[in-house]
Amino acid sequence: MFNDRSPIYLQIADGIKNDILGGSLKEDEQVMSTNQYAAFYRINPATAAKGFAQLVDEGVLYKRRGIGMFVSPDAREKLRSARRERFFAEVVEPMLDEAKRVGISVDEITHYLRSR
């Protein structure tokens, strides 16, 4: 489930963001409690809490006192625009670098994309 590349709390936050983007977590829907999350993924609850706190800081989740944490109404749209901004730098650029290394021209790439 988790890897050694980055702190688990960031991986937790990313996982929840992906669930929101993918639509499996809806806006204003309640997310698991940190204890449920910790028990399910067998991690320390403080780590889970840190991941959730990060999402609250970013405005992706909001807290309702004594009830739990919920997906912010505008979370999906905010995440989408943030990811769209990073799409060319993080997805397209590395692809072009690799294409250049192995000698694939931009024409070949556009041809491939059009044919799909």
Binding site: P7, Y9, R42, N44, T47
Partner: protein, 291 residues
Amino acid sequence: MIEMRGVTVRYGATVAVDSVDLSLPDNKIYGLLGRNGSGKTSLLSALASYRRPASGTVLVDGEPAFENPRVMRQTSFIRDTLDLNDSDRVSAILDIAARLRPTWDAAYAAKLVEVFELDARKRVSALSRGQRSMLGVILGLASRTRLTILDESYLGMDAVARTLFYRELLADYLAHPRTIVLSTHLIGEVAELFERVIIMDRGRILLQDETDALRGRGVTVTGPVEAVAAFAAGHPVLGEQTLGATRAVTLDGRFGPDEIARGESAGLTFGPLGIQDLFVHLTSQPLEASR
């Protein structure tokens, strides 16, 4: 809060724990890591007030802990030797624990006996190494003491039993938060349970940090000799290997995605350094280099 102030443990001329200062805020799970002979068990004996330090003090909420009955009732220290009477039956040992420990949860102990499939009618002498460890875990967890210390309590347990142990430990901690200190070499399989790790080396605390902060710390870099050297400049090198024109180095520190991307475009490949590997690198360094 449990504090160690300048604690030194000596065996004759050997210094096992060398003037250690350590603060353990309450209700966290701590992992104590260290190689054989690094002083883990000695440190834990002092922490549990089983042993009076040669110098220094252990304070629990500011009160000296040694020979303090209030503190001792709320401390359970499970050593691998278990300190049990070999001819006693498991059931009798659990009964004794119930009488000695005001916080003992007999129903929970019975549940753990079932989870581990221990035969409570057996005598301690008839238990396998792994079953002795399970009994230790039961004594430690069912005591529900404010401070529970489990010193290499997985010894002899197979992978299934260890998984059950970690699962029970976490579930019971979630239901009854308390301070748990677990010493281990098997960092990879338990690191996710620890809120903080304490790494000991040669009687001293080498590092104490959030476990999660250690994930993503350190990286392995492989590529052409010059490119690796250029990237590594200014970073602490934990290990290195060269094969022909290819060099692989292990670097300490944190590396941002931009730095990694620049390295990759210079022909380098990067790999993460797991907590286990970080531990091995940090504790196999000459003393000066690791500080």
